[in-house]
Symmetry: C2
Subunit: 115 residues, 2 copies
């Protein structure tokens, strides 16, 4: 298995496959295709006025906010997101990321691979 | 299980338990104690002249460089580390992080929990 070492900007920013996102891209930074068996590292970027769907699922998120400001909705409650914030969202907790600010909101969001 | 949402700076920067580090701190940002069952998020900070040990182990690293410059040694070869770099280090690959620069090197390093 090879070491992967790239700058994040070399990885394509795609539209998320899940419906219900607006002005949001996803970069799959580290995945199974790189040999990562246990968890994947993704980077999201949400532009002004954009959002991810308000949804829930049976896996967790581990989040680190790299840049910008935004809103994290959990269980219907809005919380301000800022650069340097760390968020653990347990399985089955309804959540949404929104960006009402003028700057792009950029964060890492890691998920487990489940067999 | 609760959502955890904090700024990274509220989490204590500790000396790593492993021997062989110099001028390096670790913050355990998301752990089993938060309910994270599959993987842990840590932040390392290496000051000028500091390093982690050159070692290998049977689990992988998923790394994102937040700030600064440094050197990543893999299999004896030095590679420059820069802000925004993404690194996947597979299990059993010898590696070391070093900071010969004047600025602090700060990066996330995630590891799996193995049962």
């Amino acid at each position: 298995m090879q070491v992967k070492h790239v700058h994040y900007s070399t990885i394509e920013a795609k539209e998320p496959e899940e419906k219900g996102t607006k002005d949001t891209t996803i970069r799959w930074l580290i995945t199974k295709e790189d040999g990562a068996r246990n968890f994947a590292m993704r980077m999201f970027e949400i532009k002004e006025g954009g959002y991810t769907p308000y949804h829930r699922h049976d896996w967790e998120h581990e989040v680190f906010v790299l840049e910008g400001k935004g809103i994290l909705v959990v269980d219907g409650v809005e919380n301000e997101l800022n650069e340097g914030d760390v968020v653990f969202i347990p399985p089955n907790v309804p959540h949404q990321f929104k960006n009402p600010s003028k700057r792009n909101l950029r964060f890492l969001c890691l998920i487990p691979y489940k067999d």
